[in-house]
Assembly symmetry: C2
Homo-oligomer: 244 residues x 2
């Protein structure tokens, strides 16, 4: 089956977590909203599916078309793909554990997004700059270390190369991208935090070196970070200069 991914065409965003799983499993897929470029053909196809006329309408991108089914919510799409492409354990306990980790990564992603839009997603960053600086600094100081420490603990307790132990899962691919995104958006805070989480950093490198992921990262299919979830505004990064 040739999957169709639907996501905003100009940012990695949440779609990137799905893209990494699709790339790692090696199957061809369509990235529909990016097709047709400036003609907007792909975007129109996406908006049509979001019109609420489908049996299972999605609230928001990303969503995946798999045959006749439309599956939305990033972690839910990964639950589906993980079971089919060896990116999750077959046994229930392991499957739920990987999903639990993915949902914790999703929480970190939502908090990272919230730093530049603390008041409203209907306003621009520029319209909530002072509040964003406060939110960003609190996230950089308190939440980045807390999330990273947690994943370090998981890797330590599991005793393997991956979050689930000996075998790679979609949560590892997602943690790779979370680290990449945080390094882009909060370079100073991450430099401090990663000193205490060598296993997380090593996992990031291990994922980047997977042949299909390495090929993907070097391809034009990988979008640069820009004004999506992970944004680099120095005012949001760190603790007001103390870390310089």
């Amino acid at each position: 089956m040739r999957y169709e991914l639907y996501y905003w065409p100009s940012i990695p965003g949440r779609g990137e977590f799905v893209r990494l799983a699709l790339e790692d499993s090696g199957g061809p897929y369509r990235d529909v909203a990016r097709e047709g470029g400036s003609s907007g053909r792909g975007m129109r196809a996406m908006m049509r599916l979001m019109g609420g006329f489908e049996k299972h309408p999605p609230f928001a991108p990303p969503f995946l078309k798999a045959g006749k089914e439309i599956i939305a919510q990033t972690a839910n799409i990964l639950l589906y793909l993980g079971a089919r492409h060896g990116l999750a354990p077959k046994a229930e306990a392991g499957r739920l554990w990987i999903h639990q980790l993915q949902l914790t990564i999703a929480d970190a992603v939502a908090e990272a997004h919230n730093t530049h839009h603390p008041i409203s997603v209907a306003l621009t960053y520029e319209e909530q700059k002072p509040e964003a600086a406060g939110a960003g600094q609190a996230f950089a100081r308190g939440r980045i270390p807390k999330f990273l420490d947690y994943f370090e603990t998981v890797l330590t307790r599991g005793g393997g190369h991956y979050l689930g132990g000996a075998r790679v899962s979609y949560a590892d691919l997602s943690l790779f991208h979370l680290v990449e995104g945080l390094r882009f958006a909060f370079p100073r805070a991450m430099q401090r935090a990663e000193k205490k989480t060598p296993r997380v950093s090593a996992l990031r490198d291990r994922i980047a070196a997977r042949p299909r992921i390495a090929a993907y990262l070097a391809s034009p299919r990988r979008l640069p970070f820009d004004d999506g979830i992970f944004r680099h505004y120095p005012a949001l990064d760190g603790d007001g200069g103390k870390a310089r």
Copy 2:
């Protein structure tokens, strides 16, 4: 199996979504952190399990102990319970659809929490009051109608009494609680929004009337809304007086 739920003892919070599924399925369960009352015995048991010494350490409550397994993340716990207690379809497509809806409810819950803590969870509400007023008003004006409209569309398209169609699921129980929480926290905004979403309101009533749920809601096991996720601060509700 007698489940053990672990969650902060004084607020409904995210634990409530799990509690509703446990109550509806009728099995006895322990609500461990609430045991022992002011002695703190239950809380100590919860903190011990969060110490990172377990095979699968949770990042945060709620988590469920089911035999030897510890399962965390609200939606993940519901995925587990739904499969066992008739609160989710057996077929994969239906199962993923219900989970997708649950994750969308979880997004709404996180945004509702963010309104009173837009800058940092490490600060009190009183330390971020002006920012909270802005965040609350944006949520009340823009996001509450958007989420409710979405679930109204789902109920309309599905053509049944429940989100998944003819049969109740854990997502219905969760939508009930989301509506209850939003009515408590944003009474004015909800009064406006629900005028356009009669199916959502009817679903809320249908769930409240389920015998086990009705018995639970009348029991001391149901905690009142207070200073958890759903908080009633008039300044956050509505659009600055225009709706009065």
